[in-house]
Each structure stands twice: as structure tokens, then as C-alpha cells.
């Protein structure tokens, strides 16, 4: 049996050890805030299984604790994610509270949630505070976008991007940063980032007059709804093998979990949003952001889990 077959199914921690690597924290410079799992979409790749039926949402009290934490530690960047952050009623309170406390406040958006009066109010707020927007768009075409995100999403997404451009977001040289994130619409790995960015920029400009700044391509993590798709479609073994076979030891150094804290809607702390999905708490036990009096020291171990292979395949998930 060849070596690659013997290593199939090798736990991530053992793979790291075999390469003489350890997953440990560096200086913590980023805070990711998951404000809840309510979403107006039910995307097929969602590791958190967010959707319209999910009621988890960050309360104003927890938001105040998050803002307090940001004030204490002055993170270089703070990244709000979900679910769809736009669906959280007190989001403007959180955004206004965090914007003065960091150089780079990011809100992740599914674009669809920016529709309507509420969306327009949020857009004006984002523009006023120069919030960086990171929008999900898996592909530059309707069929693959809607295969992942649902019928009718493509036109709404394009309209939202066009509106963002009208407001100055994503234009060349504009300080209003608009980036896109593309997760593959199936059981295959993402395209190399730079080549994909050039193609997205060309296609969206030519067909829809849309511009944006950067494209990030990420592998789908075999958790939640995406894992169920893999199981249902008979792709699970091949996909896991693809992730493990593509392990890139050089990607470990740049993993986002090494420099960020992740906090959920209840204020509980994790190393990343994927560990959050699995209930793998920072340091192995539930701790709350309100009680965080110092950041984890460089060298502190990070729990290694098999879903980490999705972040170390190819050029990695940084």
C-alpha cells in the first residue's frame, strides 16, 4: 500500500506532529464575533447550519461585553459574522460601539440581507463608519451561486453589489473596501485566489458593471450542512481524502486561529468559527468574554481537530 493510502484518515494532530509542527497561538490581534445563526438563506456549504429557523442571536448585554473587550485589548481588526449579521436587531449598536475601538471593522454579509429599508439604513451606517464589507459570492454565474445559496439569490446579490458600488464601495482607489468570499459550490477545492480574483473581476465588470477589491477563496469545511451534503451525495470519503492529501505544512504558520479570538452570541470564546461550530472552547472549557482579563499568551496550544485539514489544504485559510 502506498504511503498516501496509509495516511488516509490520519488525525490532524498526528499529521502536525509528523511534520514537527504544533498548533499554538501567536499574538492575538483579531476578534471574530459571531452575532448569531439567524439567516435568510440556508446555504448548502454552511458549517453552522444557519438559516431562517435559527433563533440564536447576540443580545445587547453581550454586545456591551464585546465592546468592553475591544476597548480593553484594541484588536487590529474585528470581524462580525453570523448567520446574517443584518438580521440581529441591535447590530447598529454593536457596529457603532466597535468602530472607534479598532482600525479595521469588518462585517460579513450574504448580500441578500442588504435589501430593503433596513438594509439601506445599515449601508448608510457602514459607509459613515467606513466598515469593511466582505460579501459571500461563490461563483461568477447564476447556476452555481444558486446551487449553493438558493433560488433567486443571484439577482439579489448582483443588485446589492451594484448598490454598494453606487455608494462608493469596491471602486478602484475607494477607501470603502468591498471584498468577496468564494466557497466552492460543491465537493471540490477552491480555485487559486489570485487567478479566481482576476476572473471574477473580469466577469462581474463585463456582465454586470460590478467592481470589488479583493476575492478570498476558501475550502468548504466538512461540518454541519456541508457534511450532510457530502454524506448524502457519496462524496464524503473522496472529499476528506482530498483535504488530507492536500495538506500543506507551510500553511500552518499563517492560520487565522493563531492570531484571533472567536466569540459566539452568548459571549463564549473559541479559537475559530469552526471550533465554535463543534463546541470546542478556547482552552478546553467554556469561558466568557466578560471574564477575559488577558489575551491568551503566545505559545498557548490550540485544539487540533480533523476539520482543520480544510484550513491547511493548498495555500490555506488565513
Amino acid at each position: 500500500m502506498d504511503e498516501s493510502k496509509q495516511r488516509r484518515g490520519e488525525p490532524f494532530g498526528e499529521r502536525l506532529a509528523r511534520h514537527g509542527l504544533a498548533l499554538t497561538r501567536e499574538r492575538t490581534t483579531a476578534l471574530q464575533v459571531n452575532v448569531g445563526l439567524a439567516c435568510d438563506l440556508s446555504c448548502g456549504h454552511c458549517h453552522l447550519e444557519a438559516g431562517p429557523a435559527r433563533g440564536e442571536m447576540m443580545s445587547r448585554a453581550v454586545m456591551a461585553e464585546v465592546i468592553g473587550c475591544a476597548r480593553r485589548f484594541r484588536f487590529d481588526s474585528i470581524d462580525l459574522t453570523g448567520g446574517a449579521p443584518e438580521l440581529v436587531p441591535d447590530l447598529p449598536y454593536l457596529v457603532r460601539g466597535l468602530a472607534p475601538e479598532t482600525r479595521r471593522l469588518i462585517v460579513r454579509t450574504n448580500l441578500v440581507s442588504l435589501e430593503g429599508e433596513r438594509g439601506e439604513e445599515l449601508l448608510q451606517l457602514y459607509r459613515e463608519l467606513k466598515v469593511v464589507l466582505v460579501a459571500s459570492l461563490p461563483a461568477g454565474n447564476q447556476a452555481q451561486t444558486e446551487a449553493q445559496r438558493g433560488a433567486g439569490v443571484w439577482q439579489k446579490s448582483i443588485r446589492a453589489l451594484q448598490r454598494l458600488n453606487e455608494l462608493g464601495y469596491g471602486l478602484p482607489g475607494s477607501p470603502l473596501e468591498l471584498d468577496l468570499v468564494s466557497n466552492p459550490s460543491g465537493a471540490f477545492l477552491p480555485a487559486p485566489q489570485l487567478q479566481a480574483q482576476e476572473k471574477f473581476q473580469r466577469d462581474l465588470a463585463r456582465k454586470h458593471g460590478v467592481s470589488f477589491h479583493n476575492l478570498y477563496t476558501f475550502a468548504n469545511v466538512p461540518l454541519g450542512r456541508f457534511r450532510r451534503f457530502l454524506e448524502r451525495s457519496g462524496n464524503l470519503d473522496d472529499y476528506l481524502e482530498k483535504l488530507t492529501a492536500g495538506f500543506n505544512p507551510c500553511a500552518v504558520a499563517g492560520l487565522m486561529c493563531r492570531s484571533q479570538l472567536s466569540v459566539d452570541w452568548c459571549g463564549r470564546l473559541y479559537d475559530c468559527d469552526f471550533h465554535l461550530a463543534q463546541g470546542l472552547f478556547l482552552g478546553g472549557a467554556a469561558r466568557f468574554i466578560a471574564d477575559l482579563d488577558e489575551l491568551p499568551a503566545p505559545g498557548t496550544p490550540i485544539a487540533a481537530a480533523d476539520h482543520c485539514y480544510a484550513c491547511t489544504v493548498g495555500s490555506g485559510f488565513t
Binding site: 461568477g140 454565474n141 447556476a143 452555481q144 466552492p184 471540490f188 477545492l189 477552491p190 480555485a191 487567478q195
Partner: protein
Amino acid sequence: METYYDPRDLGSFAEIGKDAPELAGKFFDYYNEVFAEGELTEREKALIALAVAHTVQCPYCIDAYTRACLEKGSHLGEMTEALHVVTAIRGGASLVHGVQMRKIAEKLSL
């Protein structure tokens, strides 16, 4: 049911080098060099490979280059258009020989 083609065989392609390693080495080196970024992008080369795979009707190649095209950032619209290019050329190659047919028929006919 047993068949001549097994998708898992694709992963064993390198075994073809067991009894002729030098030739296989040269082939695989050349193969990898061909598909590296050059004047054409890796994505464009994968699309060409997908089209040729359908022309030679190789199921291994169709499997490999369908995945490769998706992973290089092509979408199904582009991949399907590439197959229509194949179809146009294959069909056109038949049809253009009709010129010969016509010339021969004209020579034979009153």
C-alpha cells in the same frame, strides 16, 4: 457488475511506470510541465483538456478535468461551451468532407 473502467484506477496511473520507469518519468515530467501556467493559464489549459477528453472519449480524463476545471475556477456554462466547440469541430470535420463527396459525385455524374 464488473466493468473495464474503474474510477479508482485513475489514482493508480503512476503504476504505469513500474516496468518502464524512465519513459514514464519523462512522460509525467512533460505532462506536468504542459499544464503549468505559461502563455495560457492553468484554467484555460484545463478547459482545453476537458474538451480533448471528450474528443478522445476517455472517462478517466473526463473525470479528472471536470474536477480540475471546477477547481481552477471555471463554471459549468464555460465547460459546456467548451464541449460545444468540440462538437462543432467534430461535426464540422465530417461535414467538410462533404466537399470531397460532392467533387467525386460531380466527376462521376453526367
